[in-house]
Structures are given as C-alpha cells and as structure tokens.
C-alpha cells in the first residue's frame, strides 16, 4: 500500500491499523475536521501512517453490518495538510476506503459490500474517483468495482 508525496511524486509505503486508546487525543477537530472524541473505545477507528513514522495522516470510522455482509463508512478525514491542491500526500482516502473493502472481502468473500451515505454535492466525485456504484441514498462498492479499488490502492 502506497501514498504519493505530491511535491516529488515519490511513493511511500503506508500502513493502516486500529487507533490506539492513547492516540485518540491526537484526533483533534483542527487537524481531522470532525469531532472524533464522540467515538467510544468499542467503535472501530483506523489510522493511516507512513511506514516507520508515527504521524497519523488519515483516520476512518466504519461499522460492520454482518447480517447484510456490509461495512458502512461513517466518517473519514485526511489530516488538514493533506487536503486540497497543496496537499502533501495523495491517495490517503483511496487507501482507507480500499482498507474497508479489504476488511469486508476478508469477512464476507464474494458477497462483501462497502457503502457510505455521501453529501449530495460529492456523489459524482466518489463515483468517478473510487468506482462507487449508485445505490440510491447510498453509494456502494461490490464485485468487480471493489476488487478494482483494492488492486489500485492496496496490492
């Protein structure tokens, strides 16, 4: 799994893992846009870091709907320096969504699905950038689109 340093075009190895309890205080609204403190210790929070570096560059929360063989991404944010045209690293969001796909695929195989409820103005961008399919209120990844995203960002 790689993210790209936008200034140099150099790819950097990245890893995603569960946010540890002591790291939760680092997820400030100033750097990660939302109130991450509302999540309890049983909520699934994942962080993206560059290999051999402890700095958190992106964070995501998802819930598992195992009866539907689906994971729903509830919240995701890149660190503020990785947003917009002057961002330091590119590919963080793609890696995090692909990681949710990997988790769904490992648990549910060919029935795996990842979905999110988008803000209306962002719908088309998620569809174009992350191969998401239109599921009405929700956008989702399944089948070939899911595998394609996993291949693009994780393998």
């Amino acid at each position: 799994m790689n993210i790209t340093e936008t200034e140099t075009g150099i790819k950097k190895g990245a890893r995603i893992s569960a946010v540890e309890e002591k790291e939760r205080r680092l997820l400030t609204r100033k750097r990660f846009a939302f109130n991450w403190k509302m999540f309890g210790s049983s909520d699934k929070l994942f962080k993206l870091q560059i290999e051999d570096n402890e700095d958190i560059l992106g964070v995501m929360n998802y819930i598992e709907m195992s009866d539907e063989k689906r994971i729903e991404i509830k919240l995701l944010a890149c660190a503020s320096e990785n947003v917009g045209a002057s961002k330091k690293y590119d590919g963080i969001t793609g890696c995090l969504i692909a990681f949710a796909c990997r988790s769904a695929k490992a648990a549910y195989g060919d029935l795996a699905c990842v979905s999110l409820v988008p803000k209306t103005v962002l719908r088309e961008h998620y569809i174009n950038k992350y191969h998401m399919l239109d599921g009405g209120w929700q956008l989702y990844l399944e089948g070939a689109q899911m595998i394609s995203l996993i291949n693009e960002y994780l393998l």
């Binding site: 100033k30 846009a33 939302f34 995501m60 539907e68 991404i73 509830k74 919240l75 995701l76 944010a77 890149c78 503020s80 320096e81 990785n82 947003v83 917009g84 045209a85 961002k87 590119d90 963080i92 969001t93 990997r102 695929k105 490992a106 549910y108 195989g109 060919d110 029935l111 795996a112 699905c113 979905s115 999110l116 409820v117 988008p118 803000k119 103005v121 962002l122 961008h125 998620y126 950038k129 399919l133 239109d134 599921g135 009405g136 209120w137 929700q138 989702y140 399944e142 089948g143 070939a144 595998i147 996993i150």
Partner: protein, 170 residues
C-alpha cells in the same frame, strides 16, 4: 501554513479528503436500506462464477495474511488446511487440481492432510496457479509459522537433545 476552512475547498477536493457525517431520518434510513438491497441484488445477479471465484481466492489471501501477521498460532490452520480451502474454492476434484500443478494426487493428499511438509516448489506453483493473488511467500511463511511453533514448544525434543549439551554458558 494557514489551514483553509472546509468551505474554501472545491467539492472534488472535499471528496478526495473526507466522508462527511450525514444524518438521515428514520424514514430515509429505511428507504436507503431498501434501495441499497435492490441495487445490490442486481449487482450480485450480474456476477459470473469466475467473478465469485476471484473474490473467494482474494478472501483466502486476506485471511492468510491476517493469520500470518497475527501473533497467535492455531494448530488447525496448517498449510494443508489452507490448501484444502483453495482447492475447494476452485470447485475442482483433487485429481484435476493435482494434474493442473503437475503433482501426484497422493502427494497432494499428503500435503492437504498434513502428513508431509511441502517443498518450496509447491509454494511457487500455487502462486502461479492463483495468478499471483496468493504470493508464494505466504505459503512458505505458513509452513515457517508451524515450524516456529514446534521448535518453541517441543519439550520432548529438548529432553532428547539435553544429553548432547555437555556445558552451558554461566
């Protein structure tokens, strides 16, 4: 560097950096669930057997990855266990699969039933057979994990070898 406010970014920049919280009413949630179910049923119906198989092989890769990267050792999760699952995903008879990777069927059964540890060429052939979806070193590490556990926990071997060690460091 001064951080821009969220409202100052274009919608494309926002989609590349965030998934925002969206609150739906109970009625909207119900509608969203129904719509998604409908859309997924259509996607699932369009999947070919080959698509499903690709997905299941990828699932096996991730499960193998998680097991190898975890600390825990499970005596049930042998090379043979995962090989059996791989053959089962393919939906092929063991003899047919053995022919496809040029291994004698009896030998394949010995690997599956953990009666014999696989040689290196098996890992390579399995990688090639899976179109590199399951890398050879995953199969290799599976055997290593098994051996590592054995060497860590084998008390009988320790007792047997004790007589050969005549002196020890202080």
């Amino acid at each position: 560097m001064k951080t821009k406010k969220i409202t100052e970014y274009s919608s494309q920049e926002l989609a590349e950096a965030y998934v925002f919280p969206v609150k739906l009413t109970a009625k909207q949630k119900e509608e969203a669930a129904r719509q998604l179910l409908q859309a997924r049923a259509k996607t699932q119906a369009e999947l070919t057997e080959s698509d499903k198989q690709t997905s299941r092989v990828l699932q096996l890769r991730f499960r193998l990855e998680d097991y190898l990267n975890g600390e825990a050792f499970d005596p049930a999760l042998t090379f043979g266990h995962f090989l059996k699952e791989y053959v089962s995903i393919l939906g092929k008879k063991r003899k047919v699969f053995a022919d496809e990777i040029s291994v004698d069927e009896t030998l394949l059964s010995q690997f599956v039933n953990a009666h014999r540890l696989p040689p290196d060429y098996m890992a390579i052939r399995l990688e090639l057979h899976s179109h590199n979806v399951i890398p050879a070193h995953y199969w290799y590490r599976l055997v290593e994990k098994q051996k590592e556990h054995e060497i860590k926990t084998n008390k009988t071997l320790r007792l047997k070898e004790m007589k050969f060690v005549h002196s020890r460091v202080a």
